[in-house]
Amino acid sequence: MKTAAEAALAQTFSQARDRLPGSGAIAAQREAAFDVFAKAGLPHRRVEEWKYTDLRALMREAKPLAAPPDAAAKARAKTAAAMLGDLEARRLVFVDGVFVPELSDIAKIEAGLRVGSLADALCAGDSALTAHLGKLAPTGDVAVALNTALMGDGAVIYAAPGATIERPLHLVFVSSEKPVATFTRSVMVVEPGARVMLIESYEGPAGSDYQVNAAIELFVGDGAHVDYVKTIGEGAEAMHVSTLAAAIGAKARFNSFTFTAGGAVVRNQLYLRFDGEDTVAGIRGATLVRGRQHADTTLMATHIARGCQSREMFKAVLDDEAHSVFQGRIVVRQGAQKTDAKMMTQALLLSERAEADNKPELEIFADDVQCGHGATAGALDDELKFYLMARGIPAAEAESLLIQAFLGEAIEGIEDAGLREALIESVAAWLKARGQKPV
């Protein structure tokens, strides 16, 4: 039995397959990926990884593929991602999933850096791209399969060996008012010893039930240092599914932070692989949801090489009837001796109707490792709130202070001061809006 959304996706693919960018091997890759979807259908709650996010039930329809943005949509995109403005990053702007060069900072690209559009690279049959595309993204994941089948545009980024890219790169994904579907795919290759900071931000208007499916494949070479941040600030009715698939080399440093505050339904997937020895990684995130928002963070970290250290910390703040999910699995393969992995997930429930599902798991096949995980869920501490109020701080402000304190531990893990500030500001904006909502 096919749902309406599944039928619509099949129709979309059959209509678009001939005009999607890329031919030959790329077209074959699309077909193979679409087959994965055609066989499995949209993931539903009997699929273990999607138990808490029943996409088949949540996705009642599949929106048509986005058309290239018009001038009005581009004009509105100029003010996107204001919160991250102080970072003075090199912005690559995508409107409805299409790269917009005139809004992007593509002049004076520093030595050691190459940036371009995926659509261009696919059309040109760029061999550097085809060597990497699809190499990290898990083929069995239906969300990723749909992305591969329908990918239209995205960013292709290359940092040369040893290059320090001073200016952060910022992929700005903006959706216009049109209720459409976008499938973006990006690839970033950070060669050994290079240093890069990459930010992805997603946003769109509150009144449109658009759908975003985004994926990025990230190759972190030996001794490279990568900071990665994703902020999901989609409009209130939007559906957002995004995937990070990363392979990290030896003696590297990798810090990631994913921040989810917007969207009606969000699925944030992280697939991380520790391929080389002695790498240090911090994988953190914060989710702030209210109303009837549903936000799922699913993390799979696989330690293949020995001696890596990873710290996973995910915090969720939930108000009203919001629902958050954290599924985190750390796999330590047989060869990954001396792995040091600690995962913590905590939910703060501001309302009795909110629901947080936490599922941390460890699968360990090596015997000489230090691994642990923990999960907590609870309400604000009334005693602390009273203490603050007894000093004259009004209830809403007291709650804000305590919520910020709760998130602090995760946000303080962000190494870059500018990014940290930007996220603290984003949290403050969320709290301010919370204080202003009609009771």
Binding site: Y387, G392, P394, A395, L402, A405, E409
Partner: protein, 252 residues
């Protein structure tokens, strides 16, 4: 009318009556001491006045500056000039002491229609107050009370009081846990604030504190009621004779 007027106050916690008809009247400019055995209800009175949730007044009334205290939220009471130095100050990890002090001070000022303090003004005030109370500014960089010793927490309560300049401060065993020098410093902090527009209620077990903060009135609180009121000599008498006579009298 007195600044604080408590009449026939009955208070329950979890359905159990703790205060059983308490009367207390404190005028501006006065310092009152309340002494009494463990479990007699002293902290209950302090929490009730602060506006803590589980403290249910079942009978009686409390007026602060003429206003019905029961109709005010804890933060409104604070902004109106009521301050309680708690017997057991809490630790608030993740909330920086400076942020806490600043938020509190400015929230009170805002509610009273006064302008917020600028950052330099605020910092100067905190620094001066901390110096007066011999508080190491290093401590203020930490989370509120996080990793503070028992005595340091008490000093931090006095710091808050000195910054917020309340009209009525209730000090619940602020002296317990303080070393001899700290006790003098804290007492000096209180004495500096004394004046015709301010009042204090000092809850203590020890006459020693009252050598430094000399009270105008001393009350004995036993089994949920004020059972005796006198001058500062009453504290001496209690020190010598204990509470036995009051407990027998009101044991039922």
């Amino acid at each position: 009318m007195a600044l604080l007027e408590v009449k026939n106050l009955h208070v329950e916690i979890d359905g159990k009556e703790i205060l059983k008809g308490l009367d207390l009247s404190v005028d501006s400019g006065e310092v009152h001491a309340i002494m009494g055995p463990n479990g007699s209800g002293k902290s209950t009175l302090a929490y009730l006045l602060a506006g803590k949730d589980d403290y249910e007044p079942t009978k009686g009334e409390v007026r602060f500056d003429g206003k019905n205290l029961f109709e005010m939220e804890p933060d409104e009471r604070a902004a109106a000039g009521l301050f309680i130095a708690f017997q057991y100050p809490l630790e608030i990890p993740g909330v920086a002491t400076m942020t806490f002090l600043r938020t509190a001070l400015n929230a009170q000022r805002k509610r009273r229609g006064e302008p917020e303090l600028s950052t330099p003004e605020f910092l100067k005030r905190v620094r001066d107050t901390a110096r007066n109370l011999a508080i190491d500014p290093e401590m203020l960089r930490r989370g509120v009370n996080v990793g503070f010793s028992g005595g340091e927490k008490k000093r931090n309560e006095v710091l808050q009081m000195a910054l917020l300049q309340p009209r009525l401060a209730i000090l619940d065993e602020t002296d317990s846990g303080l070393d001899i020098d700290a006790l003098k410093i804290a007492a000096d902090g209180v004495n500096r604030l004394r004046g015709p527009d301010r009042a204090f209620v000092v809850i203590t077990h020890y006459q020693r504190l009252l050598n430094y903060i000399v009270p105008d009135v001393v009350h004995v609180l036993s089994a949920g009621r004020i059972v005796r009121t006198g001058g500062k000599e009453l504290a001496m008498e209690l020190e010598a004779r204990g509470y036995a006579q009051y407990q027998e009298e009101f044991a039922a």
